[in-house]
Amino acid sequence: MPGDHGETPPTARGNTGETPPTAHGITGETPPTARGITGETLLDVRGLTVEYVSEQGSVRACDDVSFTVRRGEILGVAGESGSGKSTLITALTRLERPPAVTTAGEILFRPRGAAKPVDLVGLLERDLRKLRWRDMAIVLQSAMNALNPVMRLEAQFTDVLREHDCTLSRRTARERTAELLTLVGLTAGQANRYPHELSGGTRQRATIALALACGPDLVVMDEPTTAVDVVMQRQILANLLRLRERLAFAVVFVTHDLSLLVELADRIAIMYAGRIVEIGTAADLYHHPRHPYTEGLRASFPPLREPVRRLSGIPGSPPDLRDPPPGCAFHPRCPQRFAPCDSVLPVLGPVGDQQVACLLHTGGPTLGHARKERTDDALGH
């Protein structure tokens, strides 16, 4: 958080890269990969499990979550409340607080210039500090809480900039702040404002500018536009896409709004009850969702211009994670469930270009004919 210097001297510099942290990107030099997605893996999450531990037992909010994010890619994560998407965000950025504990898995992160990936799960606070802002930044839903209410924007930007380059003079910091604010469509003059003097949309733009201050490779966003109106949302996201083109950072974008993600993200991961149930490109997920939950979620958004037909949402409610249903957590609500769904836990496996965790598609090793017949039925319609 800006303004929170802690005891670590701001001289701490990364040991991984020789590039001065604030020199790339925002100065307008086009990074080597203009379009961004080079196929190179930036983030590789494997089997991440996060539990909330209490005396009554533990609750698995993220269970065996695996996915990759390539450089410059926008990965959308969609799910309802309680699906574990926000827990995933805090675990990724190592911002989780007790009782949340990462109990298994690794988060391999390979920032620009690093010889080999680092595992964020085991990283010490001291080393994390070096990565934060410079290699990885976060934008939260409530910009009012993410900004320090008693500091002018400029002071908060200076804090962040100097954290990673202590040689930065006051004047350069001011220029850089102005540059960052113009980047997100604000005016340089707004640097002198306090957060409460700005509208919600403007504040959220400022936090995005702040996240980009040190030219990170990865920006993690937790419902960044949920609290702003739809017109402002579109402006902010259009701006984000333009900046992504220019600065080639990757984004993990968490939201409950699947219809928004379809327009924004390159790939989308659907979470349900702590697990990823489907991952695929936005177009694949929209045109042929494979998991019944994805299908239901997609059908929960009425179309804007297409002919209206009766939609029904998904019956029932999300499971209580303190007592998750056995087998596939979605089976009590699933219109296509069959015999093994309440006992066999489906694992994420490839189906076409997508990855799906559903027995209709991937089955389990122990399943015989019952599955096959049912699969044919299900796919036959």
Binding site: G201, R234, E263, E306, G313
Partner: protein
């Protein structure tokens, strides 16, 4: 209990079963039907709030200007706008929470003034509200039974012997079945969607003619929102309710309502039959709003372009303590002229059934 035996409503139904023939959940338009008189009406209402600032200064928030809206039996009217557009203020005026600065609220043509006690109760037995947050709108210390019984008892809708039966019937109507599983629950034991159903059941307990829904689904999980919308559509059809549906989500408004009215910064800018507003928006603000709403079909259809491609910075809604003169959208409007800065345009009725407040349309057509 209300029944829909009146003429003209038989044709308006939509299947509740998911596997029934897909059909839009709205009434077929009845082109020649004579519009029946509105149940509840806002006639040219204006609402200004005085707020006390620091150092004894006061300022006036001009929250709503000359708004008119009519609610009719068996129809859902959606009021769409961003935060600060005045949509909730209008709903609260309908709920008599404020006294309008000018203009009046009319129930079946009769002006309704500020009222208390029995007179207020009489009004609320016809007009009920469903709020955004079902976590806050139900008494969390008491069971569903208590929450419903209170409404029934206060309005004299049930006696000691039939109250239990009434409550089960109410839960049945909002599809909280089996009802005996729900009646003894505390609100925190229910999901958001179930809680909102209880809130709707409580509103129905008094047998209202009008229900005002202020963003009734926006706090709910995505997968449960449509269920509530379908429930509201069913209540419209089965009970002939007049419904005001306030939302910022224009796609949801289209799904549910027969009519959409668009508000901006306290002014009504456009309204009319749903499909006309969606497919053929006239006011520049309606177009901006539609253009900004998520629409995956637009991006993903072959030849479709990313809607993010050419989004210009189009500013923000004004501060309502010091709104721009004339049409409040003019600072953001690409077509703004001097007239727009001078005065708010009169209503222009269009042949499509829409009306619009915009200087782009000749006022000769206005009524």
């Amino acid at each position: 209990m209300l029944s829909d035996t009146d003429g003209g409503v038989d044709a308006r139904r939509h299947p509740e079963e998911p596997d029934a023939v897909p059909e839009p959940p709205r009434h077929p338009e009845e082109p020649d039907a004579v519009p029946e008189p509105p149940v509840l009406e806002a006639a040219d209402v204006t609402m200004h709030f005085t707020v006390r600032g620091g150092l004894g200064r006061t300022s006036t928030v001009k929250a709503l200007e000359h708004a008119s809206l009519r609610l009719r039996r068996g129809r859902i009217v959606a009021l769409v706008g961003e935060s600060g557009s005045g949509k909730t203020t209008l709903a609260r005026l309908f709920a008599l929470m404020y006294t309008p600065t000018s203009g009046e609220i009319r129930l079946r043509g009769e002006p309704v003034g500020p009222r208390r006690g029995r007179a207020a109760r009489e009004y609320y037995s016809e007009v009920q509200m469903v709020f955004q947050d079902p976590f806050a709108s139900l008494n969390s210390m008491h069971t569903v039974r208590h929450n419903l019984a209170r409404a029934l008892r206060i309005h004299g809708r049930a006696g000691r012997d039939d109250i239990e039966e009434r409550m089960h019937a109410l839960l049945e109507r909002v599809s909280l079945t089996p009802t005996r599983d729900f009646i003894g629950k505390l609100p925190h034991e229910l999901s958001g969607g179930q809680r909102q159903r209880v809130a709707i059941a409580r509103a129905l307990a008094v047998g209202p003619k009008v229900v005002l829904g202020d963003e009734p689904i926006s706090m709910l999980d995505v997968s449960m929102r449509l269920d509530i919308l379908n429930l509201l559509a069913r209540l419209r059809d089965e009970e002939d309710l007049a419904l005001l549906y306030i939302t910022h989500d224009i796609a949801g408004a289209r799904y549910l309502a027969e009519e959409i009215h668009v508000m901006y910064a306290g002014q009504m800018v456009e309204g009319g039959p749903t499909e006309e507003i969606i497919q053929n928006p006239q006011h520049p603000y309606t177009r901006l709003l539609l253009g900004a709403s998520p629409d995956p079909a637009r991006t993903l259809t072959p030849g479709g372009s990313s809607v993010f491609a050419d989004v210009e910075d189009s500013g923000e809604p004004p501060n309502l303590t010091d709104p721009p003169p004339g049409c409040r959208f003019h600072p953001r409007c690409p077509f703004a002229t001097d007239s727009c800065r001078r005065a708010f345009p009169a209503r222009t009725e269009l042949p499509t059934g829409q009306w619009v407040h915009c200087w782009l349309y000749p006022s000769g057509a206005s009524t």
